[in-house]
């Protein structure tokens, strides 16, 4: 059988070299046994421990070599070898054509024309109405209390048995600029509905990972100064729109003396909410401990200004489920963006 195979191989191979290579490869073939295929636990764990040790030794060698090479390059005055950047999902995100460009005139025109421009241009002050769904929830009231302290000029109204469409009308009459509905599922706040008024878009977010102020260690107490707003990473057109919607909840004149900052950080379509108080401190950096590695000359104390953060307020995560064009009307309304299951085909595609 083997001889026949060899003959066939000889016929098929175009190059004489190919044939020779094939013969050479045969004796080198070894059977690799995976540690996971050994049935005996003692033997298996011993083999695996050995494997791990080998890998660790190899890794340490690599790091040492890398450090030595960079040190040598620095001493010689050459450029150190390039630092290796780990590959992350954010690094390898799919190229999105909907990303906002800074030179896009249409974007600015669209911003001027959209529903939030009145608030964002400070023509009207934001006025927020917070309410809940009809069901009771254990952490809901505490969450709403904290939301009231985070968002200035927010008012809480009990839900009663009013229909949401009626509540929207009522809020329009009272000149509110947005409504927040905290929706509850299984007695836990589960979703956030952000309705812009008078005919602004409705954003439906799913709320998760809620941590209340009392559960945060060493939390701070927020003051009533207007907070600064930090919106990170809202790059696409949809993200830009959602970012502007969130921005329209807060007044546009932050009080910097209050040293209060609210952050909405978008990463992989999850929006992380954090609320901090910060303080600037001047820290004196003493030499001595890190003498061997630092390049700086000895005997100097360097002064650095550092910002220290103290977290206050709730901590939660939002994920956009749908963005509807008008006010709340799930049955009869038009959707600008809806999450559909067949959008999730790629692990490296994000929409916000």
């Amino acid at each position: 059988m083997a001889k026949e195979k060899k003959r066939k191989a000889a016929e098929e191979a175009v190059d004489g070299d190919d044939y020779i290579e094939r013969e050479d490869k045969k004796p080198k073939k070894q059977k690799l046994i995976l540690a996971s295929q050994i049935k005996n636990k003692e033997k298996r764990s011993a083999v695996y421990a050995k494997l791990k040790h080998e890998k660790r030794v190899e890794k340490r060698k690599k790091i040492k070599a890398r450090d030595a090479a960079s040190k040598q390059a620095l001493e010689l005055g050459e450029e150190p070898p390039e630092k290796m950047v780990p590959r992350t999902i954010e690094n390898t995100r799919e190229l999105d054509e909907t990303v906002c460009r800074p030179d896009d005139e249409e974007l600015f025109a669209g911003n001027d024309a959209d529903e939030f421009s009145a608030v964002l241009k400070q023509q009207t002050a934001p006025k927020v109405l917070i309410t809940t769904c009809r069901f009771n929830s254990s952490r809901g009231p505490a969450f709403i209390k904290e939301l009231l302290s985070v968002i200035p000029n927010a008012q809480y109204y009990k839900r009663g048995t009013y229909e949401l469409k009626k509540i929207v009308e009522y809020a329009k009459n009272k000149e509110f600029t947005s409504i927040i509905v905290v929706h509850t599922n299984r007695r836990e706040p589960d979703a956030l509905l952000l309705i812009g008024l008078p005919d602004g878009p409705t954003a439906h977010f799913r709320l998760s990972n809620l941590v209340l102020r009392k559960d945060i260690k060493n939390h701070g107490n927020p003051t009533s100064h207007e907070p600064e707003l930090v919106l990170n990473n809202f790059t696409t057109r949809l993200g830009h729109r959602v970012g502007r919607m969130i921005q329209s909840l807060f007044p546009q004149v932050p009080n910097f003396r209050g040293r209060r900052v609210v952050t909405f950080h978008n990463q992989r379509d999850f929006i992380f909410f954090r609320h901090h108080r910060y303080v600037f401190e001047v820290k004196e950096k003493k030499e001595g401990l890190k003498d061997k590695k630092s390049k700086a000359s000895q005997g100097k104390t360097e002064k650095k200004a550092i910002a220290r953060l103290q977290e206050c307020g709730p901590r939660f995560t939002l994920k956009l489920v749908s963005l509807q064009h008008g006010t709340f009307d799930t049955k009869g309304g038009e959707f600008e963006w809806v999450h559909k299951a067949d959008m999730d085909t790629s692990r490296r595609r994000f929409f916000i």
Binding site: E97, E106, G110, H325, K331, D342, M343
Partner: protein, 450 residues
């Protein structure tokens, strides 16, 4: 059933589409190159201004003197040359004859239809126009060109009211342009004869169900089903129902289909007279066959925003859909597959396809072509030359499956170019390079081994 056949190379055949959006911009998207090109935005017309947001469009898809009529939110109706983008004339939506100015200020235009076939005197008159406002005021008037002498007598506009209460949301003109259809919120479908300005048919709401509950009337999209037949009407409602009405048989809907759970925002008939396409407010696009009353299939392509408008290419098996997610998508109707999507940055309100676009026009003299064509058009005595030029180029462009041609009605352009012989009908697929059309169409047995 899972999809058993796919379009191998999802590129578009040469086509040109114009889209309008909520900032008043008109974007021209073209696909160049014969073998599966990607669409690109070629031109953008108009300054971005929200008060000039486009409410309704009508495209006179003629070879000679095509006109794109656009109704804007600030009350103006503009007529543009779709090849160059220059404004031919602008008129005000509200006529000077209307008595109550304050009422008409809030009355937005809902429907706009430009009569394609009625064109008596091309030098001074642009054509006739049918407009319909939200409160039901319908007006037919003739539009003169901006450079026409002002002492030309223009026919007095013909106005009437379609409904007392309720809002008109959809209107449609039948292809023979003798009948017009109106429907809306609390407005039942009405069919009017335009020559006599009389209502010849009105729909009746469906019977209340066994609990005695009747659904309020709310038509959001409507169209005539056949090109040569004004008697069959397809309408979509806010309650996710699609209904077929037949004027000759009864006033109630003949067939009523429930489609998913969102309001039907756009309905477009196919050229074969029994298929139509439906787009909903959540982004679902599907095609239905009215002979059986069943859905043929859904178009899956990650469309996540409300579909505002669907346009069918008169010759090729293509549809274009645009909507609030700011994408213009081009689909193949045979395989129900997405051919390509273009991101257009604004909420799109309507799309029209220019069927007289050929790739031949672009080779070499691209910047000169549009100007020379328009020059030719302006001079009325050179109409004959223009026809021949267009016909030479559209000869190669004429591509459709042989089977469909029997069912199709004669197009306008075919009528004009009667004298020229037709070369062998070519499928646009045949123009693709061989490597790309490996597994395409026909039978699976013919698949080539590679």
């Amino acid at each position: 059933m899972p999809r058993t056949s796919t379009v191998e190379s999802p590129g578009c055949p040469p086509l040109r589409a114009l889209t309008t959006d909520s900032l008043g911009l008109i974007k021209v998207v073209e696909v160049r190159g014969k073998g599966g090109g990607t669409p690109q935005v070629v031109e953008t017309w108009g300054p971005p201004d929200a008060s000039r947001s486009v409410l309704a469009t009508s495209y006179a898809d003629r070879k000679k003197d095509p006109v794109l009529a656009v109704a804007r939110k600030n009350g103006l109706i503009e007529f543009l040359n779709p090849l160059k983008g220059d404004v031919l004339t602008t008129i005000k939506a509200s006529e000077s004859g209307s008595t109550d100015q304050s009422a008409s200020a809030n009355d937005l235009l809902v429907g706009l239809h430009f009569f394609k076939s009625k064109q008596e005197d091309s030098s001074s008159m642009l054509g006739t126009l049918l407009t319909c406002t939200e409160k039901g005021k319908v007006c037919i008037r003739s539009v003169g060109r901006s450079d026409a002498p002002s002492d030309q007598s223009i026919d007095s506009p013909n106005e009437w009211s379609v409904t007392n209460g309720g809002h008109v949301l959809c209107s449609s003109l039948d292809p023979s342009e003798n009948y017009a259809l109106f429907g809306g919120k609390h407005v039942e479908l009405n069919l009017w004869d335009l020559n006599s300005s009389k209502k010849i048919w009105a729909a009746k709401p469906p019977r209340p169900n066994n609990l005695g509950i009747s659904i309020p009337t709310w038509f959001t999209a409507s169209t005539f089903l056949c090109k040569d037949d004004h008697r069959k009407i397809v309408a979509g409602t806010n309650q996710h129902q699609v209904r077929l009405y037949d004027i000759t048989s009864q006033r109630r809907a003949v067939i009523s289909i429930d489609f998913r759970e969102s309001p039907i925002k756009a309905v477009r008939e196919d050229t074969d007279g029994h298929t139509f396409y439906v787009g909903t407010a959540i982004g679902d696009l599907a095609s239905f066959d009215m002979r059986t009353g069943k859905m043929v299939g859904c178009y899956k392509g990650k469309c996540c925003g409300s579909i505002r408008s669907i346009a069918k290419h008169p010759d090729l098996p293509l549809i274009a859909s645009c909507g609030l997610d700011s994408y213009l998508r081009i689909w193949d109707t045979n395989k129900r597959q997405l051919l390509s999507a273009v991101f257009l940055k604004q909420h799109l309100t309507s799309v029209v396809i220019d069927s007289h676009f050929t790739a031949q026009e672009l080779e070499g003299t691209k910047p000169e072509e549009p100007t020379s064509q328009s020059e030719v058009r302006d001079q009325s005595d050179q109409e004959g030359n223009c026809d021949e030029e267009r016909s030479r180029k559209s000869k190669k462009k004429r591509k459709d499956a042989a089977g469909k041609k029997e069912k199709k009605m004669k197009m306008h352009d075919e009528e004009q170019i009667s004298g020229i012989e037709d070369p062998a009908e070519k499928d646009w697929i045949d123009e693709l390079p061989i490597s790309k059309r490996k597994n395409h169409s026909k039978k699976r047995g013919e698949k080539q081994l590679d």
